[in-house]
Symmetry: C2
Subunit: 408 residues, 2 copies
């Protein structure tokens, strides 16, 4: 019988978000009248910006006429979008348009990137983290089995907690790949310039590669918090950066993101030869992906127009106002609260170190869905994420219910 | 230094289509006045059908309003599309909607599918074939190095040539995974019901899994040529099927496809446990993919409307008329010609067994781009693919040039 990839059997019961979905569906079936407010998955609610909608439709219309019809596009994305990215998101940082790979989502990019590295790579991942980082390395076979707390043998976990101010500490051993995320999902905290510099220095000393997820950079409100790892000198020698249009421009259902792979970034073959990581990622992209949808890329490019920028800013401000409301209400209620200043996530310490218990209790008593910290990794246990991605009205109702209905 | 996936270094110089692109660009730069006709990559030229365009735009408009806005969709695709697929493409074949996984393209699906199987799997691939089948197995580490003819150690090649009427023969050894494609890319030939039955029987006897690519099924014109492997009894126990909207509905730049994984299909873990392949693919899909774009799925669903079907049929007929023109002209010119009856590809025997040479000669003498058979695998050497995906006018010009300009 055809043998399966046994590594899949090491994975925990369910990917976090489908598991949340399952529990919510079950609750809804048993409580059909409950008005459930979902602050769990971190999904946007505001419609696409007008300028994005217009560009998207024009993109569709291009496909309706023979002289403007587009078939296969460049696997790496159209120049109009790659150029807009470098001019706007990386101005002055020396990133070239051909170092930007457009994709259909950051989940795909941050999940697929590990493929181009050796199966023997030592991987360090901050904990808690977006589950895709760990799961895709498990599926590839870079780990042993998980223990009861969900810790996989072979991964170097870098705990984020209130004693280290949610900033990952340098591993004691030398590692090959380092997943960092700032502004952080799920903690909502950011890494400072000096902290990032420490990591770039470490990576250069240890010949490691940093996989830097800055999907939430647009939500940074404080000055001097770095938005890109390439703001740190030397980062182009040791870092790949992931960005997404999902949260900033409401693209979770539209699907577009990008990854920056500097051409000077090198890895090593088993024979000791230096190999361009850019060429490997390009090869993967061309072999297993056929480019993002053309109208979607047109829509994404509109985010960089003057109107588009202003409309995206409005959305970001709207969500960040929500974050403020959540943060303040939970503080008043006596919770220890983190994040929510430079990120659309508020991270709170649960009364008992049982975050799935807190999930159930919040769902049952307030009909509010959040995300249990344990779902993001073992060090997430005892914490809980509330997303600011809701309507002002829903956030206000949820907060009211928490104020009155939830024992603090 | 971070170690790379050494398997990438085994890959041949370039993925076929980028290599063609490179040669064409070079020729165009040196011959700026040449009117190059591209019948190489197999990319559609007709604009999207009206009903598709309308549905696509309505999908975009849904995203513009708060009450119809869609964020993250189901990773597996929306029910409206999954239901349309089973009702139309698999009527009477007992395929359930939850066995259909919508994706952003068949290249991704047929490239990613190998991930859920053991790295030790013995893989059989018809040769010539869509390069993604071989390349993704090379990248995963299922092969040794390639020899001079491009044959990778460890892969069981099943030659397709004029002596076996381009029908793959059963491997002499037992294999785990079998890539079949009918209507075939690149040969344009199809497998008959009895041939497919032989394969299903083999797979059941050997506990193999067939990866059946029927991206071109819509182009079948002859009666009794099976369109789905599930028309063969027992196939649900041993086969996965890939389908695409790329060629039929002109979605190469829109990006939408699907994969059918029957729930009864089982693989085996190293401990001998039976494992549902459907559950593994679902886990992969949920962990590394976030669903196809919502407006794109709305556009795809319109293909199944009455108007949509008729408009797709028109397009298919248009291309198949081209195929007929190419086939007949090449036959008259004295070439041995195959395919082009149930597929939009014509496969011809080159005068000398040097298909890249024929590529260069066709480009230089006629300014026509085709695809060298060698690019599809070692047994493709000596053959050449011409795609029927062009405008009637371009096909006619190309044929005229070949008639007059190419030594037969």
């Amino acid at each position: 019988m055809a043998r399966i990839n046994d590594n899949y059997l090491k994975l925990q019961a369910g990917y976090l978000f489908p598991e949340i979905g399952r529990r919510v569906r079950e609750f809804a079936e048993n409580n059909p009248k409950a008005d459930i407010i979902k602050l769990g998955i971190g999904d946007v609610v505001l419609p696409l910006a007008e300028s994005v909608v217009e560009a998207f439709k024009r993109g569709v219309e291009d496909m309706a006429k023979e002289d403007s019809f587009k078939g296969y596009g460049p696997e790496q994305g159209y120049d109009f979008l790659r150029n807009a990215v470098v001019e706007n998101d990386f101005a002055g940082l020396g990133i070239d348009a051909d170092e930007v790979f457009i994709s259909d989502g950051s989940k795909c990019d941050s999940g697929n990137i590990q493929e181009i590295f050796s199966i023997d790579s030592k991987v360090a991942i901050s904990d808690p983290a977006y589950p895709v980082y760990v799961d895709t390395n498990v599926m590839a076979g870079r780990t042993g089995a998980a223990n009861d707390s969900g810790t996989y043998e072979g991964i170097v976990y870098m705990p984020l907690n209130d004693t280290n101010n949610f900033s990952p500490e340098l591993p004691k051993e030398s590692v090959d790949l380092i997943y960092l995320c700032s502004p952080n999902n799920p903690t909502g905290m950011t890494m400072s310039r000096s902290e990032l510099k420490t990591w770039v220095d470490y990576a250069k000393q240890n010949n490691s590669i940093i996989l830097f997820d800055s999907a939430y950079e647009r939500f940074i409100t404080e000055k001097d918090v770095p938005k890109s790892i390439y703001e740190i000198e030397g980062a182009k020698d040791c870092a790949i950066e992931f960005r997404s249009f999902s949260k900033t421009a409401g693209f979770t259902g539209v699907r577009c993101a990008y990854t920056v792979v500097p051409k000077q970034l090198m890895g090593q073959s088993s024979s000791g030869e230096k190999i361009s990581i850019h060429s490997l990622w390009n090869r993967r992209h061309c072999t297993k992906f056929n480019g993002a949808s053309y109208p979607v890329q047109k829509a994404a490019a509109a985010i960089y127009s003057e109107k588009g920028k202003a409309q995206v800013d409005e959305r970001v401000s709207y969500y960040m106002e929500n974050a403020k409301v959540i943060r303040e209400a939970l503080s008043e209620k006596g919770f220890s609260v983190f994040g929510g200043v430079n990120a659309p996530y508020v991270w709170l310490k649960t009364p008992e170190p049982d975050s799935w218990g807190f999930f159930d209790s919040l769902l049952n008593s307030c009909h509010v869905v959040g995300t249990p910290g344990a779902g993001f990794g073992p060090s997430g246990e005892g914490y809980f994420r509330l997303s600011a991605f809701g309507t002002k009205e829903n956030i206000s109702t949820a907060i009211e219910r928490i104020r009155n209905g939830l024992p603090s």
